[in-house]
């Protein structure tokens, strides 16, 4: 089974490497996750510093998940779900919006730059939009660089 292992195990590409930021994405299974799949199938290049957690619906997301991510050292968190009105479960994304609106307003109080958190809507057919959203968000986080003092 082909490739040699040394190259990959080399730490050059480590997520903690110089100038890296750690961004976690929490995506709805029905729209944005599929949108990201589409972006992959279309070979749309995307930033490396991004890891995706799949959930059945943005309505399942508890703001604590996001705070936890920051606590554990994330430099940015991106939440993406179905466009308002298009929720696979009818209204999940509306509940998500209410909670995340509040979180968005709260984070600056806790000393987070607004650019470190974003929630948005990307449908399953919006591969290109997904590429654009994730690229821009991570650019924003990279501008700020890693968060000082990992803990909350």
């Amino acid at each position: 089974m082909a490739q040699a292992t040394e190259k990959a195990t080399g730490t050059t590409a480590s997520w903690d490497g110089e100038g890296r930021v750690k961004v976690v994405g929490i995506l709805c299974n029905w729209c944005s996750y599929a949108g990201a799949d589409g972006a992959g199938t279309a070979r749309l290049r995307q930033p490396f510093d991004f890891r995706i957690v799949r959930v059945p619906c943005t309505g399942r997301i508890d703001p604590l998940h996001i705070l936890k991510a920051f606590e554990k050292g994330a430099d940015g968190v991106l939440v993406s779900g179905c466009h308002p009105g298009d929720c696979h479960y009818a209204e999940g994304n509306y509940y998500a919006r209410r909670k995340l609106e509040l979180l968005e307003r709260m984070l600056p109080q806790l000393g987070f730059e607004p650019e470190r958190f974003k929630y948005t809507w990307v449908s399953a057919s919006e591969a290109q939009r997904w590429q654009q959203v994730v690229t821009e968000f991570i650019k924003g986080v990279e501008k700020l660089g890693p968060r000082e003092g990992r803990a909350l």
């Binding site: 089974m1 082909a2 750690k22 929490i26 998940h65 936890k68 050292g73």
Partner: protein, 661 residues
């Protein structure tokens, strides 16, 4: 805990940018992992056998496959592990293809990220527990939304197989766009001759109920058990009494625009769209009815032999239960007048759309099949004039980003060729017929031959180029175009210009999609679950697609798809019970404080108040009703609800694991 990790190469799809072998080896260091292996094609038979073998030999109790998207093969591998005697829900996928190898170029980076994704999957799989599917009774009735050729075909196939089918059609008759057509390509056989018998079959079939002039207002429930609110719009005519004699239409004094004839003729305020309508029942367009507008008239009431007229009629609301839903709502013609102002915005009478021309060609149309210049139609002491020069322009609202329609409409090239031939046939071979085209798309069976016939046998002149402007001059329509093959501008004095208007999503398609919770693309066409593997299903179990509501389609493709969809529905409803996903919410009643927030937020009514032995009430999830969205989980103030398969701990552990340094 004994976890097995299997890393796929997917040929070079993954291996080109991810060192599958290397990260497989590294995965061995992860807590609980006792077996790792990299496989060239994990989804192949040897690949799946390798997994099963490892499960048996290393008696693994958890499995992670790092390969493509779970949307691609989660089901496949669940079956694989189940085949080896492991609970299918003790399995997790790491998406290292769509979300990694295909979006990165640098191999060290790709490998590193892939490894992180595996770490997350492993973290999640540790938290998983065996789950067991429930079974629900299945309602075997089927709802078909839309009574065009797609809906008709699906309904007949299902009814023949013995299922009860309800067809909901928003117009007063079924038949859809095909009923408006004169002939069909590439055979030039008469559209009505093919369609109307099928319409009648529908009407007479014991298993089919047609609900014309009705709309779907609301859809609740889930696969096998949908509850649908249907509204029958007030036609102001008692359809149980109406015998479709057309007397009212003949006597009605109020003119009204004729939608069925695409506005090139007028009908009456009370009307039956066309002679072969099914059901053949009259309806009043109140906006044009004198009684409703001016408070006098009531002629129809007087002449109706069945005394079916009912000016007080109201919309009727009803609720029905179905096991599956087929969406076959079709398409609309691109409204070129609103976009192509350089073509006169519809102010030039002799510039018409393809479908308008189709009505003119149709023997049951306003001109009884005679081709005439609209500018000479329906005027006193003006003899309707036959056009001597007819110009067709293709790609109107297709392949045109400037009007937000970059896609190809799929049918225009062929219907233009057909109409060009019919023009020669109806008006005479001496008529000059020009077709301005960008590219000819004749992809179907017998299509290319058909276009060739138009060019050779019928001498239709195809001009490769587009038309920049249409304007009237001395009673002609000036066509200012380009012949790109000659590299010269051309100007043609036309008597009639037919615009091959493309296909656009049906009006209100996105609203319907939202009512059904199915997804749609940016143009309003409904999205199939997978373009190649699940082209007839939507992302919502139990809801299927047929015809042009999914993408522009011609009749052969539509009918083929409609029958395919029928087969899919039969497959689903062949079972008496359906397995439901066990990945649903669960309440820890010992911690429930009976605040009932879960009941408030659940879109499906899954949580209920359950009386315990001590007489207290606690929340309880009705397993067959819960759809596993997890809204209640995120809402519960004391976190006493969790979501099986997507547990709170598993989400947190994935985050923690991947951020761990």
């Amino acid at each position: 805990m004994r976890i097995g990790v299997f890393v796929c190469h997917c040929g070079t799809n993954i291996a080109a940018t991810v060192d599958s072998e290397g990260i497989a080896a590294r995965a061995g260091e992860l807590k609980g992992v006792v077996h790792t292996e990299d496989i060239i094609y994990t989804c192949s038979e040897p690949g799946q056998q390798a997994i099963q073998q490892a499960i048996r030999e290393k008696n693994l109790d958890r499995v992670v496959v790092a390969a493509c998207s779970p949307h691609m093969h989660e089901v496949t591998f669940r079956r694989t592990v189940e085949g080896a005697g492991l609970n299918p829900y003790l399995f997790e996928m790491a998406n290292i293809r769509e979300h990694c190898s295909w979006i990165h170029a640098d191999k060290p980076e790709g490998s590193e990220k892939a490894y992180d994704l595996i770490k997350m999957a492993v973290a999640k799989v540790r938290d998983l527990e065996p789950l067991y599917a429930n079974e629900v009774e299945v309602n075997k009735d089927v709802l078909v939304i839309g009574g065009g050729v797609a809906g008709i075909q699906t309904a007949l196939d299902l009814a023949e197989a013995g299922l009860k089918v309800t067809v909901v059609e928003k117009e007063t008759t079924i038949g859809g766009t095909m009923a408006q057509l004169d002939k069909t390509f590439p055979t030039i056989d008469c559209s009505a001759c093919i369609l109307t018998p099928r319409m009648v079959d529908c009407a007479q079939h014991e298993n089919i109920e047609i609900m014309a002039y009705s709309e779907v207002d609301r859809v609740q429930g889930y696969v096998g058990n949908f509850t649908v609110d249907i509204r029958k719009k007030a036609s102001m005519v008692d359809w149980d009494k109406c015998i479709g004699c057309e007397l009212c239409q003949q006597k009605c004094p109020a003119k009204a625009p004729d939608a069925f004839n695409e506005g090139i003729a007028t009908t009456k305020a009370i009307y039956i769209p066309f002679p072969q309508a099914v059901p053949k029942r009259a309806a009043i367009q109140v906006d044009y009815c004198r009684w409703f507008q001016e408070g006098k008239c009531r002629v129809c009431e007087r002449v109706c032999p069945a005394d079916a007229i009912d000016y007080e009629q109201q919309d009727e609301y009803m609720q029905k239960e179905f096991g599956a839903i087929v969406v076959a709502t079709g398409q609309d013609v691109f409204p070129w007048e609103e976009y192509y102002h350089e073509y006169g915005s519809g102010r030039i009478p002799d510039v018409i759309s393809g479908l308008q021309y189709e009505r003119m060609l149709n023997a049951s149309g306003p001109t009884h099949g005679h081709v005439v210049r609209p500018s000479t139609m329906g005027q006193k002491d003006v003899e309707p004039e036959e056009p001597k020069t007819v110009v067709f322009i293709q790609c109107i609202g297709s392949r045109d980003e400037s009007v937000g329609r970059p896609y190809c409409s799929n049918v225009c090239c062929m219907y233009t060729a057909k109409q060009a031939i019919l023009t020669k046939d109806h008006v005479g071979m001496e008529t000059e017929v020009y077709v301005f085209y960008i590219d000819i798309r004749a992809f179907g069976k017998g299509y290319e031959e058909f276009v060739k016939r138009a060019q050779t046998e019928f001498g239709v002149k195809y001009v490769r180029g587009r038309v920049s402007k249409l304007y009237e001059e001395r009673g002609k329509v000036k066509v200012r175009g380009m012949d790109t093959l000659l590299g010269k501008q051309v100007e043609i004095d036309a008597d009639l210009v037919v615009l091959a208007s493309g296909i656009t999503a049906a009006d209100g398609a996105s609203e319907l999609a939202q009512r059904l919770n199915i997804s749609y693309d940016q143009y309003g066409f409904f999205k199939e679950s997978h373009p190649k593997l699940r082209p007839l299903e939507t992302n919502t179990a139990g809801i299927f697609l047929a015809g042009a509501c999914q993408a522009p389609k011609d009749i052969p493709t539509t009918v083929a798809q409609a029958s395919g969809t029928a087969a899919k529905v039969l497959g689903l409803l062949a079972k008496d019970k359906l397995k439901t996903s066990p990945m649903i919410a669960r309440v820890d009643q010992s911690r429930c404080v009976s605040c009932w927030k879960c009941i408030e937020v659940c879109p499906f009514g899954a949580p209920e108040k359950e009386e315990l032995r001590d007489g207290s009430y606690k929340s309880h999830i009705i397993e067959t009703v819960c759809q596993g969205c997890g809204i209640c989980v995120a809402t519960c103030p004391v976190n006493c609800i969790d979501l099986k398969g997507f547990g709170t701990q598993s989400v947190l552990d994935q985050i923690e694991e991947v951020l761990l340094t």
